[in-house]
C-alpha cells in the first residue's frame, strides 16, 4: 500500500495532507499516529486538526509564510518511526430500536432490495464499524464498514427534519443523527443515546479510530433507556481495544 501522503497549502493558514483516495482503516491509523506526532512537535503553532477519510488538515494560528519549509518539517516528522504510538481506542455498543415507528424507511427498502426487514436489521447490527472522523454536525460520526447488501441511495428529496438519534443509511454509509436536522438518508431505527452533549466533559464520547456496534432493542427497552439517559443514569457499554 502506498502510504506516503502529499501536502498542499489550503489558504494562508492551513496545510492539507492527503493519502491515496480510498476509505481504508490502515490509512486512518497512519493518519491518527501522524497527527499525534505533529501534535507533540508543532502544538504551539497549530490551533486545530480536521480529519477526513483520507486527509488531515492542520489549521495554524498565524499565516504560514514559508510553506516549503513547513512542509519539509512535516515530512521529516512523518519519516520518524511513530508506529509505536498507541492511542487507546474503544468499542462502543449502541442500543438501537429498529421498530417501524422509527425505521420509517425500512418497508420501502425491502421493495428496493431482496432483503426482508429482519435481514436488514441483522446485517446492520452484525457489523463492527470504524469511526473515521466526526463532521457534518457536532457529534456526527462518519462510519466505515457498511455491508454492501445495505447500500441504499439517498432519498431523492431530503426530509426537512430527521429526529435526533435516528439511525440511517445513505449510499455506502451508515450513521446516527446527533441532533434533529434536515437529511436525505434512509431511516432504519433510533437510539436513545446522546451523541453530542455540551454539558458533558467530553461532549462526544467517540473519537476517530474507535469502533461502533449497534445492538437491537425493543420499543419497551428503548423507552426505558431513554428515561435512564435523561436522568443521567445510563453509561454506554464500552470495551478497550488492543491491536
Amino acid at each position: 500500500m502506498d502510504k506516503i501522503p502529499s501536502y498542499k497549502p489550503f489558504g494562508k493558514q492551513a496545510i492539507l495532507i492527503e493519502w491515496h483516495q480510498d476509505i481504508d482503516a490502515h490509512v486512518l491509523e497512519d493518519m491518527l499516529r501522524f497527527k499525534e506526532e505533529i501534535q507533540k512537535e508543532r502544538t504551539h503553532l497549530i490551533v486545530d486538526f480536521i480529519v477526513g477519510y483520507h486527509s488531515l488538515t492542520l489549521k495554524y494560528k498565524e499565516n504560514i509564510f514559508n510553506y516549503t519549509d513547513e512542509i519539509e518539517i512535516l515530512q521529516s516528522i512523518y519519516k520518524k518511526d511513530f508506529t509505536a504510538i498507541k492511542t487507546p481506542h474503544f468499542l462502543w455498543e449502541i442500543p438501537v430500536c429498529y421498530n417501524l415507528e422509527f425505521g420509517v424507511d425500512l418497508e420501502e427498502m425491502t421493495l428496493k432490495s431482496r432483503l426482508s426487514i429482519q435481514e436488514i436489521i441483522s446485517h446492520h447490527s452484525a457489523k463492527i464499524y470504524t469511526v473515521f472522523f466526526i463532521g457534518f454536525l457536532p457529534g456526527f460520526l462518519y462510519l466505515g464498514g457498511l455491508d454492501s447488501d445495505l447500500f441504499f441511495d439517498r432519498k431523492p428529496t431530503p426530509r426537512l427534519k430527521v429526529p435526533k438519534g435516528s439511525v440511517a443509511i445513505g449510499g455506502q454509509q451508515t450513521g446516527v443523527y446527533p441532533s434533529s436536522s434536515a437529511g436525505g438518508w434512509n431511516l432504519i431505527g433510533k437510539t436513545p443515546i446522546n451523541f453530542f452533549d455540551v454539558t458533558k466533559q467530553q461532549p462526544c464520547f467517540a473519537a476517530a479510530g474507535d469502533k461502533i456496534k449497534f445492538t437491537p432493542i425493543s420499543l419497551g427497552e428503548f423507552h426505558e433507556l431513554e428515561k435512564e439517559v435523561a436522568e443521567n443514569k445510563y453509561s454506554i457499554s464500552k470495551t478497550l481495544l488492543h491491536d
Binding site: K8, P9, F10, G11, K12, Q13, A14, L16, E18, Q21, D22, I23, V47, D48, F49, I50, V51, G52, Y53, H54, S55, T57, K59, F133, I134, G135, F136, L137, P138, G139, F140, Y142, P178, S179, F196, V198, P203, C204, A207, A208
Partner: protein, 281 residues
Amino acid sequence: MIKVLKAGFYTSIQDKGREGYASIGVPVSGAMDTYSSDLANRILNNVETDAVLEIAFGFCAFEFLSETIICISGGHFSPKINGVPISLQTRIRVYKKDVLTFGHNSFGARCYLAVKNGFLTAQVLKSRSFFQNITLQSLLSNGDVLPIGVFAASTDPSNTSVKIVEDHFESQKIACYNGPEFDALEAFQKEALVKQVFTISNDNNRMGYRLNEVIENELPSILTSAVLPGTVQLTPSGELIVLMRDCQVTGGYPRVLQLTNTAINQLAQKKTNDTFQFVLK
C-alpha cells in the same frame, strides 16, 4: 445588563469562535466580519475576545438596565439613542433606561454592538458564540436580558472616533487563493472563475453564501475532507457556495478557491443581489 426589546431578524452573540473542536464536528463560528467587531472592541479598550452583538438586517431595540459605554461598528443601520442618531466607530456613554434602536440600512449587511468589557452570556466550549445545539439559544428573542461586563465610571469617557477603510464595504474584489481542487478545473473554468461577475443569491447566511452564476463542470465529488470558513465549493450542478463562519468542518464538494480572511470580512458585509469578482492572489 441589557434588555432586548425587539430582537430583529438575526441577532446573535459572537466572539472569536471555537477553535480546537473540529475533531467532534464543532464549527468555528464567531463574528462574520472580524475587522468590524475587532474595531468596536479596540475603541472601547476591550480585549479582542470580548463578545459583541452581531446584528444582521437591523430593526431591533435594546434598553440599558445599567450604565456603560458602547461602540457600534460595521454596517450602518441608523443607530439612535432615545431617538437621537449616533455615530459609528465612536465611544458613546449610555445610562440606565436609555434605549438604543437600529433601523433601516444605508450600507453593509451586519453591524456590531460592543459594550465595555463585553457581553457575558454563557461560555460553551470556550466561546460565547451562539450556535444551534451548542449554546442554549441560537438567536436573541424579545425580552432576553443580557449580562454585560463591569463598567467603572472612571473609565475614560472621551469620544474617541476612528476612521474606517471605506474599501471594506465598497470593494468588488474578493481576494482568494487556489483551493485544493483548483487544478482539477479546465483552463476555461479557471478563467470563468475570475472573469465572471458573481451575484449573491438570496440563500446567504452565517453558514454560507450561494451564488447565482454557475460554472458548468464534470468534477467528481471528493472523499469527505476538511472545509474552512472562506472555502468556495463547486457543486455538480455548477453552483458555487462560499462557506462562512458557521460552516461545517467537512464537506464533499470540490474546493476550488479559498478566500483570505479580509475577503471573508468583506463578503460578510455584502447581501442578496450584491455583485463581486474573485481575484486570485
